[in-house]
Symmetry: D3
Subunit: 250 residues, 6 copies
């Protein structure tokens, strides 16, 4: 199958990390392609940046879906996930969504580790939006930045392991999701030092996209997912405008 | 005070209706200005259109906030509401948010009437996002379109009144929010025929924006609302880019 | 407009503080009047005192509503709020209700600071009753008494600021409601020293009452708010008995 | 043991019915005494009447608790239940609380039948207050009045049985609580015609009060139930004033 | 009345402790009999052991229910409680269920103390299953084992009292349930040293079983409790097979 | 990979249907083996039968896990799912769990169709246990039996399609899970006639088990999943007893 990874922020290094994680997780028969945001935020780490990024998710999906059998959104806030599901008939999977759903088969309650206190409420809201609030042990917002992951990896690893420990001891987490592409890429290296399974949302999203593809279920077109027809949206690419008019992405 | 109304869709008639509703509700000392989306969806009636509209909300806010004391988002999905709150220090109020908050002082449980079955789950999700799920009686999705409001107003009014009746009898609604600008504009005319208060979110948002302005509370800059600094966002207006770098909108 | 403040406890100093806070928040055209409980608890700081105070709220409302366009309940447990709404057609707003509703436009989650551990469960229950449990960050019960606010204000301010800090750091509060009239009166003085907006419920209630008055919405008379008729209640004032028989308060 | 039943409304016929139901349920060694409200509402069927009745509950409790080992509140809104628990060391049990707690050992989800649409939201709120919302199947508000129970009992029985049927078929109720003293008194006669157990809250409250008395557990005096001391409440009986000052009811 | 206590684990000492606690709580007219698991886990302290124990609960119930008027499940996970209610017409009460229901008449929120961190999530899930999550203050998992209760009782008592203190101070517990038979048996001795009521589930279950017996309510046979007929279950005792075929246990 | 399907009831026809569904969904490299309960209920359609079946699930898992890389529980109540996860280090997936998790990537809210009113509360409880209550649209209990699926398939298909229609129109389901092995086997044939995706839990469980195997995540051994050691369980197979003593299933 052909799997498209969309990283809507403009940081190629993140796309590279995500593609590497995806490759490690993908089955032999899965052909991977990753695309990067061309406009909008360099990093998505606030609601305002997330708002800007949504159109770029749709643009990248519209332009590349024709050559894909499934899409993984490689952005930790699962930006425009359900908007994609309105427009496209192929499976679209969000990385945090996937981490939570796979985690639900591993652990009663899942903890989330992330960078910086401002993101904690956004992850809590995202988990609630996915209807999985009862499975959330807690969110541990570390006092480190994504940049430090590259500058001082030892310090960040130490901080992440300490955060995991707090989620397990204090909040009863039985597995921990490392949120965000930079942090998720540490999962493999940290696993031997952690007392619970560490979940990388990108890997889980690849596996779920493969599973959805194999199952061959049709897209839902009822309720909020009823077909869009004749919607008039300006200043978007012809490919995206076509989807709003009810065309297919193929 | 100077109050800016943002209608992010490209339909001037909606802006006109919203401005009229706002004028009817505003205090004498409130100067109103309404702006309309220049790009993106003509109408916002799906998650995908809402995703596209978010940047335009931020653009209009960034470009006009300098001459405003408060902003009302005249879009029934409260698009980019919290993103605006991250970027701007003046009060920003969403019309559905306002209808629910004012309605909470009127009624134990509030019903929502809207156009079309596809919108019902979006309003339910929005109410949950506002943390007000316990105050929602139900959502009644009418089998009429916004366009019919203009083409066959008598039929639409009949449908709306029947929907209100079902929300009251079946779901225990004690007040009803008419969601969306077109429907909200009927509130005044329908009120004499309805058995419960009919809530127009635009009017409520104007009143709440005036209240917030009068109270003079500072914007929160803690947690998820901590100041943004040095964020790099491309392909946006200088005004918006400036807000992402931590500048003020004045 | 004519705004009536009801303080159902028998402490005139509280009424005075509340009236001062209300005056500071009210618009020029708002004429304020405050009345004090003549019987019942000197202070309302338990469920039992709150139970006793409810009739006095209704008595004061019944006797003075005829000369008022809206009522603010200046009692932090919002005592008899919905009972007033059953009996009166003018807007009635509770101070904690108002603080939460206005706070909901400021902050994702709101903290509450109060005096003494016995009040924390009562505020939690009140927030749940208002259906806003999802917006509550936490309740911080300080080990100080209202009396100390007057005797040792510096110590109380120090304790309040420390409580705010804990709500912000530990619980993720993005705004804090200072519950109770004595503590709310400190909001202005403490704001410069606090890292989040401090909410004074009385000021918010005044602003919301003005907003509700300006909107001119009818009272709901459906469901639990259906008109009362021919109810027979003894040992109450003629004004209150009249409301129970279905008369108006004018 | 000596069991006191408090009916805070001024309708002796209700007290008589309640006392009869209690006698039928009580153990041989239980001495029953029932007292009736002397002031306030004749019937409690609104929040406003409930507000007025709360003081009378406390007065009757304060004056008679000295000769009782436990108290049952024979009022379907469990008026002032936790206020009594603050003031008194003996067990105090509410009739709707008891019906729900006993019902929880009988049925996954419990339905409630009551008189009139205005009461349905009050029962829903009461069930939520007791933290038992997940066990509520639904509330069926019949279009009959308590008075009709005496004037046209056959019609009322027919309506009640139809309501029970709807709760079972439509809402999945596995037991039904007949709310309010008048309706509860029909439980025995209707049981043979009903497809689920019919719960009379008074009988359940008597049984739970006996159980609590037998268990000999101390009253909780922590958190919101910490001892009251030196509270100053005017215009109450000396017995009640004494409890507010921290004295015992004996 | 004849009350059967079922301890499904194979530890006679637990049965003895439970029977002693039950005797202390039972009324003079209650004849007690306790039976012990003959197969399965020696101790039930995991989901896997609980899974194994469920059949033995049903076997013991089927074989002895004919000589009983009510059953108490003396196993802290309330194993097979609702399965028993499907099969038997007499009251069946679980010990943790009973502790929570009785505790709900004592305290706003209830804490639970138990042995070992692995049990905390199981008790939380059990409380949720009973629909009483809103009444749970917290679960305190002590770092001691049941065996230590016998080997080093002073150390265990010290740990339990410290756990109670944390539940009260940190989580707002107003009563504490000592979960599990070994720990529950300490309730009487620890009560004088505790700041809140200590709840022994066995005692509460005995009292509730007596209450249910006195009330004489029929078993529910609607919804999930509809009569079983002609169910074919192999490798069970004739008594149990008979119940599955729709026979009575008498 | 080697995938073991466990059908704990004694009906070989169900095992055959499940194996066929699994084969249709499995990847080429997946070797399937299905085992059937040897003792206990012929059909699991009540809590009591489910209680009996739990040990057989564990027995079959213990005896066959050594030759498997993952296990699917082909029983619609996900019997003993978490008990298996305590004992085994390989992935174990429940069929209803899997249907819900996969369905969550397809639809905002999922409906469930099942046989008979007595099962509806059990599925609701199961969905809540999985923490996915917010994603459940409703449960439609058809008035047909599993046996009729074979005797009068046309009638059953008609009933199932009508139930799906009600879930979509009335409850807003955007996908529907056909619960239970017999009904799930109709998914493929009914899909062309249904307006939403029809989910077969067995197929989803196979795909999820393959995904979990590919991801190679370790089992969680924290919290409620901490290693079991030296547990003494009698009357079980040596293989199962070994797992309780802390041995591996290999």
């Amino acid at each position: 199958m052909r799997l498209l990874l969309i990283n809507p922020n403009r940081t190629q290094a993140v796309t590279d990390a995500v593609l590497a994680a995806a490759r490690a997780a993908a089955r032999p028969g899965t052909a991977l392609r990753a695309v990067t945001g061309r406009r909008g935020p360099r990093v998505i780490a606030s609601r305002a940046e997330n708002a800007i990024a949504q159109q770029e998710v749709l643009e990248l999906a519209a332009q590349h879906a024709g050559e894909a059998d499934a899409i993984v959104l490689a952005v930790s806030l699962d930006s425009a996930l359900w908007a994609c599901r309105e427009l496209l008939d192929i499976p679209v999977i969000g990385m945090t969504e996937a981490g939570l759903l796979v985690g639900a088969t591993l652990a009663g309650r899942i903890g989330i580790v992330t960078y910086g206190a401002r993101m904690a409420p956004l992850y809590r809201a995202l988990v609630e939006e996915h209807g999985l609030g009862a499975r959330l042990a807690g969110v541990e917002a570390l006092d480190v930045t994504p940049q430090q992951t590259f500058d001082d990896p030892a310090a960040v690893r130490h901080a992440v392991l300490a955060g995991i420990e707090r989620l397990v001891r204090r909040d009863g987490a039985e597995a921990v999701l490392l949120a965000g592409a930079a942090m998720a890429s540490m999962a493999g290296a940290l696993q031997p030092h952690a007392c619970v399974p560490l979940i990388d949302g990108v890997a889980c999203a690849v596996a779920l996209a493969e599973a959805r593809h194999a199952l061959g279920l049709p897209a839902s077109r009822a309720g909020s997912l009823a077909p869009l027809e004749d919607r008039d949206v300006s200043d978007v690419s012809p490919a995206l405008a076509g989807l709003f008019r009810g065309g297919s992405a193929a």
